[in-house]
């Protein structure tokens, strides 16, 4: 947690990413704020439709029509990325901020060798000569644990297994030395023994270079092993943010509590699991007050009319709830 004393590398402030569809305005991200220091790992968790991937895409400047950033700032290293034009953003993307996608099967171009795809990053973002680029590629593949890296430069993506492809994707993301890495469900498509290998690899890579990491996932267990702090999203809004250990030991928001309770491993014996009733509401027709109110066991009249503000907790962290759970003793 020493990282937090540094000036933030990234400050997202009141971010609103909306999609204007024929069915209505989809407020995928609706007023999200957080900051991130160099070398810090931030987990963004939530269920499908929570808007967590859209936060990542917004930072990367990858929001396409009918979506757009309606309001808010994304201050990266002193510059507001929202106001950059395409060319300026292109220089940031890949060089300063890199992204790892969920599906290693589709993230690589099947028509180019992995050597080509790695080297492209160096050609675009560095002044290295051909020989130096080649050496750097071999070095990088070895670093992510690809055996016989020199021979594998000429191989195509289909010649790799899923776990190995994700290693290649990590190598491509890290090779230009980005200062912020965004990983969107990086291990969801992989088996548990391979997932453990890759989480360790990612953690080693970012620690070694003091790269900041945003890990976006639905898997609270995996994120709790990686992140310094965790942001919980529900229907495009931050419902809780806090240091990982504190948030897991003593969540203040009923949704965070519900998510934690729903994990079967946290449950002793084989009685019924505590469950969150109902389903995530249609994001085009959110209830007027707190979006979680229809599913919340603590909801009262006030929750159905007034959207709770994110308020700082005395013990650190913040939550958006009118009737928060007791702080952990």
């Amino acid at each position: 947690m020493t990282a937090q004393t540094d000036a933030p590398l990234l400050r997202v402030c009141g971010l609103k990413t909306w999609f204007h569809t024929f069915g209505g305005v989809v407020k995928a991200v609706d007023g999200v704020s957080f900051d991130l220091s160099p070398g810090e790992i931030l987990g963004i968790v939530g269920e499908s439709g929570g808007g967590k991937s859209m936060v990542g895409f917004s930072i990367m400047g990858l929001i396409d029509k009918p979506g757009r950033i309606e309001a808010g700032e994304i201050i990266f290293d002193g510059r507001n990325l929202v106001s950059l034009d395409d060319n300026a953003m292109q220089a940031v993307r890949g060089r300063q901020i890199a992204m790892i996608f969920q599906d290693p099967m589709t993230a690589l171009n099947p028509l180019y060798t992995i050597g080509n795809q790695l080297e492209e990053m160096l050609t675009l973002h560095t002044d290295l000569g051909p020989q130096a680029r080649r050496e750097r590629c071999i070095e990088m593949l070895a670093e992510v644990g690809i055996p016989q890296p020199e021979a594998r430069l000429g191989a195509y993506p289909h010649q790799f297994s899923g776990g190995m492809r994700q290693r290649v994707v990590i190598a491509i993301a890290m090779i230009a030395g980005p200062r912020l890495l965004i990983a969107d469900e990086p291990t969801t498509a992989l088996d548990v023994t391979i997932q453990a290998q890759l989480l360790r690899l990612m953690k080693a890579q970012v620690e070694q270079r003091r790269t900041a990491l945003i890990m976006i996932t639905h898997d609270l267990a995996a994120v709790s092993q990686m992140a310094d702090r965790i942001v919980v999203l529900y229907c495009g809004r931050v419902v809780e943010i806090g240091a990982s250990a504190a948030l897991i030991a003593g969540p203040r928001h009923p949704y965070t509590r519900g998510l934690l309770d729903s994990i079967p491993a946290n449950h002793q014996g084989r009685s019924r699991l505590p469950q969150i009733p109902g389903t995530v509401p249609d994001i085009r027709k959110l209830p007027p007050g707190c979006s979680f109110a229809p599913r919340c066991p603590r909801a009262a009249e006030r929750c159905r009319s007034e959207i709770p503000e994110l308020t700082a907790a005395p013990a650190g962290g913040a939550f958006a709830c009118h009737f928060p759970l007791e702080a952990a003793p």
Partner: protein
């Protein structure tokens, strides 16, 4: 457990021919033309039993053959070898016609709630289709039956006339469960029924599946890759690797005292909430070998930290080691000579 189990599977094997057409197979090597076949060894001699009212959880990573095993048991694939006995009746060689009455006893719930429902059928028709096939009831009965089934899985009468696309993933899985229930089966094979669902919805469906089991008294063969789910729902657990059953036992024995090195590694690799990443030394290295060419000897030896000479030559059989737990590993055979010192120090 002295009575005849509901389901008994003996030495089941499933091999798929993935060679393609003759033209795909043709090879020209050393001046000779050959057309070798490529065989996937999906299930390799698996034996298991399920008692009435019992939940057998089957875990393993992708490609370990757990889905192939399930589909072979329910005869969506013809087994290559072995025997499948349901209530003492040998159904191994049954063709489509003779399977019809058997399907009344055995139903399946699929992983993907989007692909497993016919998009052009109303929900009330979907849920009674298996029942219509085996019982041939009238339409009046069918409607009433559909209403009962929907109520059982927590859906209302207003949902009956809708189509699958009007439902969320969790609701669709409820429809799939209602369909399996329609014939009052004795065994439900559930292939990753909650993997596609969000964690809050997953808890709802797991609770529903347990409630229904208590109501109806059927058994589950529950397939999942998620260790926390299998721990929650199972009475007994089987662990598969590369088409082999490597360990079986009561749930608590598997979790508290896993004996096979693969089970141990799998449990350690699973992310646990609030725990740090496991140390690298406890992690498995490498990846699962190809099911086209099985390793000689033990299938796990290429990744096993404790493998020794015997593992490369002799395939370990699943042997009972007490308290209902069985393991297929040379380290746990009673007549095994003490482990070579080199193997032990390599593991430490």
């Amino acid at each position: 457990m002295s009575e005849e189990p509901l389901l008994r599977v003996d030495g089941l094997e499933q091999r798929f021919d993935a060679s393609g057409s003759l033209f795909d197979r043709l090879r020209f090597e050393n001046g000779r033309i050959s057309a070798p076949r490529r065989i996937v060894h999906a299930v390799n001699g698996v034996s298991l039993t399920i008692a009435r009212g019992e939940v057998l959880g089957l875990v393993g990573e992708s490609g370990c053959g757990k889905s192939s095993l399930a589909k072979t048991i329910i005869k969506l694939h013809e087994p290559t070898a072995g025997r499948i006995m349901l209530e003492g009746e040998d159904i191994t060689g049954y063709g489509f016609q003779r399977m019809q009455p058997v399907r009344r006893k055995m139903q399946m719930i699929f992983q993907d709630p989007y692909a497993s429902l016919n998009p052009r059928q109303q929900v009330s028709d979907i849920v009674v289709e298996p029942w219509r096939e085996v019982a041939g009831g009238t339409s009046g009965d069918a409607h009433e039956r559909a209403m009962q089934l929907l109520a059982k899985v927590g859906l209302g009468a207003e949902h009956a006339a809708r189509y699958p696309h009007q439902f969320s993933g969790g609701q669709r899985q409820r429809i799939g469960i209602a369909r399996a229930l329609s014939v009052n089966p004795d065994l439900i094979i559930a292939d990753e029924p909650v993997s596609a669902l969000d964690v809050s919805i997953q808890a709802q469906i797991l609770n529903l599946m347990l409630d229904l089991k208590d109501d109806f008294g059927f058994s589950y063969l529950f397939i999942t890759h998620d260790l926390s789910v299998v721990r929650f729902i199972s009475d007994r657990i089987g662990v598969m690797y590369l088409g082999f059953m490597v360990e079986t036992g009561p749930r608590d024995a598997i979790f508290d005292n896993p004996r096979h090195p693969y089970t141990q590694a799998l449990l350690k690799a699973a992310p646990r909430i609030g725990q740090p990443l496991p140390p690298a030394a406890e992690q498995l290295t490498g990846e699962v070998p190809s099911a086209f060419v099985l390793p000689q000897g033990c299938a796990f030896r290429t990744r096993c930290p404790l493998a020794h000479a015997r593992c490369a030559t002799e395939r370990p059989a699943l042997k009972h080691i007490g308290a209902g737990q069985s393991v297929a590993c040379h380290l746990h055979e009673a007549d095994e000579t003490p482990l070579p010192a080199a193997a032990l120090s390599a593991a430490a």
